[in-house]
């Protein structure tokens, strides 16, 4: 059996077990399919109106990606400032923590007043959710450098910008990717929150509509689609990570061997 299959088999079997159990439960209890849809009915709902699902999924995906890209830029920028300026760190860091205690949906409501039903409030909500884990991990990464490696560069006569570029950034990269993976998974959440307070399209918007109409099977189908979006985005970041810092993956593999 190849290695990837050995890894993929247990979660696949477990998932299958849950689905089969769920299906059996709806049959045994003779549940009302409008309230408690069986997996087979959810699957059918997925193909009831695939054009609508795809169109709305594209809207949500765009909000996620735009918000993530801006959030990553902001997060890395803040991380660099925090890591290198004591003044900025002491002035900004406490507020950064405070910002994370604010319930995002509350902010989203205000954003709709300011920016209307456009894509802007959704993107901003995703930015607000995505930047924090990236900023925190960037700070950690930039501080994780071995001081002896910095000294080695200094004995070569290297300048501070050069040391930053050749040592600190590479050391920080795996940390930054960790933050980006968390942010990617959470960006679905941000997009859905943003759509809930006011939108004319997107999977979150569609989910509200179907929920009001008590089309529970379609609600679950949309949840499934959202989860596919989230997992897909996460997977994309993992692939980018492998391509950007192949050495990190190799080093981790070697640790596993030894």
């Amino acid at each position: 059996m190849p290695e990837w299959l050995k890894k993929a088999l247990p979660p696949f079997l477990f998932g299958l077990l849950v689905i089969v159990g769920w299906e059996a439960l709806t049959i045994v209890t003779d549940a009302d399919p409008r309230i408690y849809p069986a997996p087979s009915e959810i699957l059918a709902a997925l193909f009831k109106n695939p054009e609508s699902l795809l169109r709305n999924a594209r809207i949500t995906a765009l909000e996620m990606v735009l918000g993530f890209v801006v959030g990553a830029a902001v997060g890395i920028g803040i991380g660099i400032l925090l890591a290198f300026s004591k003044v900025v760190r002491s002035a900004v860091y406490p507020w950064l923590i405070v910002s994370q205690t604010i319930p995002i949906p509350a902010v989203a409501a205000v954003l709709v007043i300011w920016f209307g039903f456009s894509i802007v409030p959704k993107v901003i909500v995703v930015v607000l959710i995505a930047f924090f884990p990236i900023a925190v991990n960037t700070v950690d990464g930039l501080k994780a450098v071995d001081p002896e490696m910095v000294r080695l560069m200094r004995t070569f006569g290297a300048s501070r910008p050069r040391i930053f570029r050749e040592v600190r950034i590479p050391v920080a990269m795996p940390h930054i990717f960790t933050g980006m993976k968390v942010a990617a998974a959470f960006s679905v959440l941000g997009a859905v929150f943003g759509e809930w307070v006011g939108a004319k399209g997107g999977l979150g918007y569609l989910l509200l509509l179907k929920n009001r109409a008590v089309n529970t099977d379609e609600v679950f189908a949309i949840i499934l689609a959202l989860s596919v979006l989230g997992v897909g985005f996460f997977g994309l970041i993992v692939i980018i990570e492998r391509l950007t810092i192949p050495w990190y993956h190799k080093a981790r593999q070697m640790e596993g061997v030894q």
Binding site: D146, E148, T155, F156, G157, M173, W247, A251, E255
Partner: protein
């Protein structure tokens, strides 16, 4: 003939007032052209501080440190520590070429010279690998290759074999002697292993506990090459006895420890 490394009456302390800690106390060290010189002393006695001063990372509180007669020392010495400090995100060739590249050698030329020295160090064909993909002994050799390329043939080696098992360590000593004899390098070597210091060196400075002073200068006239068995000769043992006597002037019990390289 001008000494390559010249440390004159160097003292160094850290902190101020009551909490001031003196680390070096009037140390004199000289390393001539193509000489192999060792600093032998107890752990934590300030040897590494002396290296930080010679390499230009620190300035002495008193006295002066010169490399080739100049106090502008940053970038003149290849400095190697116990940890190989190979960067896991660079392939071995780029790690070895790093010092040259920082000093402005064009990338391709630096890589070519790295490939050459890797070949000479028995690492030909490993240049494209990452540090995590080669063994500990190979990593240490790669780090030494980087040190050779980075310095103008002035090498500061701070317990480079300290983390290796004793068998690998003996092999690395023989190998280092071969490499050094074929090169133009002047080496200053830190160790707290008496056998290692005497076997490798033309001269050994024995340092006291902190604050470090030179308590004994041993000129080693043993014939080269020096195979493993050198350490069993009567001349060698006489030198070793002197070194140990000065390392532990009051404490006969610790002599036992010192003869065991793993202690």
């Amino acid at each position: 003939m001008q000494e390559r490394i010249s440390v004159k009456n160097v003292s160094k302390g850290f902190g101020t007032g009551e909490s001031r800690v003196a680390v070096l106390d009037g140390v004199d060290v000289e390393v001539g052209r193509h000489h192999f010189v060792s600093l032998l002393g107890p752990s934590g006695c300030g040897k590494s501080t002396l290296f930080n001063i010679i390499s230009g990372l620190m300035e002495p509180s008193q006295g002066e440190a010169l490399v080739d007669g100049s106090t502008e020392r940053l970038g003149t010495c290849g400095y190697m520590q116990q940890k190989d400090l190979l960067m896991p995100w660079k392939r071995i060739t780029d790690n070895v070429a790093l010092g040259l590249m920082v000093k402005g050698t064009p990338r391709n030329e630096a890589r070519e010279r790295a490939e050459e020295i890797l070949e000479r160090f028995g690492l030909g064909g490993f240049g494209h690998r990452y540090a995590s993909e080669i063994s500990g002994g190979m990593r240490q050799r790669a780090a030494l290759a980087r040190t050779f390329l980075a310095g103008d043939d002035v090498l500061l080696l701070d317990e480079p074999f300290g983390a290796l098992d004793s068998l690998t360590r003996l092999q690395m000593q023989s190998w280092l002697l071969d490499i050094w004899q074929e090169s133009a390098a002047s080496i200053l070597f830190i160790t707290h292993d008496v056998d290692e210091a005497i076997r490798l060196s033309d001269r050994v400075y024995v340092l006291s506990e902190r604050p470090a002073r030179v308590v004994l200068t041993l000129e080693i006239d043993l014939a080269r090459p020096r195979p493993y068995e050198t350490v069993l000769s009567a001349e060698f043992l006489a030198l070793k006895e002197q070194a140990i006597h000065y390392l532990h002037p009051d404490d006969p019990a610790s002599i036992q420890e010192e003869t065991n390289p793993d202690a």
